[in-house]
């Protein structure tokens, strides 16, 4: 069973959101997602300053067997990206909720709450997917 920290929020497309103290959020992909994709070989990061919208592609994570879109879970502007992923894409596998973070976003003022779930709901969703 993959790791699902309780303090984070989750999108049904397997991204996590962490609220930081300065009002921005950090975004990455979940342990379940990195397990499915396999060893990361490349991450295509968004540009700092780019606008992102909930539910739209903002990045790509690439393994040997798949290249998967990362969907932004929130509306806002990218204020930072994890440059370390350029040389060490494997951080996404090793530490998906920590050093494997992908982008930091300042939420838009009129941001929609979005369809984010808590850890328990996400865990239930993953379990039902795995049972298929």
């Amino acid at each position: 069973m993959s790791e699902i920290p309780s303090g984070l929020k989750y999108a049904k497309t397997h991204e996590w959101v962490e609220e930081l103290h300065d009002g921005t959020v950090r975004v990455g992909i979940t342990d379940h997602a990195q397990e499915l994709l396999g060893d990361m070989v490349f991450v295509e990061l968004p540009e700092v300053g780019a606008a992102v919208h909930a539910g739209q592609e903002c990045a790509v994570v690439e393994s040997v067997k798949a290249a998967s879109d990362v969907y932004s879970p929130v509306d806002g502007e990218v204020v930072a990206v994890n440059e370390r992923l350029a040389d060490s894409p494997e951080l996404v596998n090793q530490d998906p909720y920590g050093d494997g973070w992908i982008m930091q976003v300042r939420l838009a003022d009129d941001a929609e709450p979005g369809e984010l779930m808590g850890a328990d709901d996400y865990a239930a969703m993953v379990e039902s997917e795995e049972a298929e």
Binding site: V41, E62, V64
Partner: protein, 497 residues
Amino acid sequence: MRDERPMMNESPLIFEQSRPGRRNPAHAPEAPARPVDMPAELLREAPPALPEVSEMQVVRHYTRLSQRNFAIDTQFYPLGSCTMKYNPRACNTLAMLPGFLGRHPLAPVATGQGLLACLFELQEILKTVTGMQGVSLAPMAGAQGEFAGIAMIRAYHDARGDTARREILVPDAAHGTNPATAVMCGYTAREIPTDAQGDVDLEALRAAVGPQTAGLMLTNPSTLGVFERRIIEIAGIVHEAGGLLYYDGANLNAILGKVRPGDMGFDVIHLNLHKTFSTPHGGGGPGAGPVGVGERLLPYLPLPIVAREGETYRWLEESDRPHSIGRLSAFGGNMGVLLRAYVYARLLGREGMERVAEYATLNANYLMARLREAGFEPAFPERRATHEFIITLRRQARELGVNAMDFAKRLLDHGMHAPTTYFPLLVPECFLIEPTETEDKATLDAFAAAMAAIQHEAETRPETVKTAPHTLPVRRLDDVRAARELDLVWEGDEGKP
């Protein structure tokens, strides 16, 4: 193939065998009498750093490299959807006759009547076999054929002023070229689910079609190795909504001579001559992907096309076909491949073609029965195999920790190429197995026996399977490293151009 002597498996690069100053004077002209009279700033400063090796070294090196390959000529190669049948040598010899091989593509048509006769007759044969009204031999591979097909659908709708049609429907089991092609033609690809029996979900299809539907891309038999039984209904649903039907001919070997795409309601098709018509795969091409169309799309066929006028042949051009989607190559396409396909078609003739699907299907069903006896799990046990079928190794993956990739690698040790693995994506841990009609019963039995042996190993000493192959020039390769630490060009001698 593996040799225990340590040096025998080493394979230095041709560059590593270079010695400065080594030349092959038999091949290059003498240094020209005059110095090159061109402005200095346009000239290269030093010749490119290509290998400096003798002819003996070149021959030995590339011959030895060839011996590190699996090929149809040496191994059973049951790659699903690739149709690895025997490549008759006559096709090669006759396509390479000097009159064809030495001919310039822009030479006058008057001296090309022999070539054009072959191409025209091939067009006609493909029309008959597919039940279509017109054929163009121009596309150079299946993917280009697909592009041509979808571009023609677009041309048709645009010509009618029906520009609201922005979607191409694609089954979720489709080959990746299908959605990629739709996007290249400015469409979005929308997926239609497949049901548990392997057929397209008709309810989902009905819900998905509408005024935005340009067309549906389908393979029949599908990529799941089963016949799309309700194809007539599918055609009806799409046509009623105003869309057109595209046939991906990758699996034509299953129905050649038995069923024609035109009769199933398809408006446009492509064929893969390097599959169904046995032109050689060449380690990754060249292929040919001719397209065939029904009446509605005739004006849009890509150029060039061969026409016969009385007793002479000529190329049709833009002035003959002003609505053509255009050209896909600088010259006529992969002529040599087309000639090989033509020779194959003449060797087979009508009776031979009728037998292709029969024996391909017999072989696939037999192999499926033998594997089932050995305890393997077909993905669609209650369906007939077509020319191919799927088994799933998910039980082995779950219970023994041995997956489809492991089985594939261990098959290599048995001197057989593995079937297609992990495609279609819908079936977990799958093998898509296509024996083709040119394999005999003994070969099929040997494959079933090899699979049974690997199963036994997976149960008793799984590590052997998980670290396979053991008898090839290299052991299992690190794909992740290949993608992370990209080494695409040799820099060992710091070769400067």
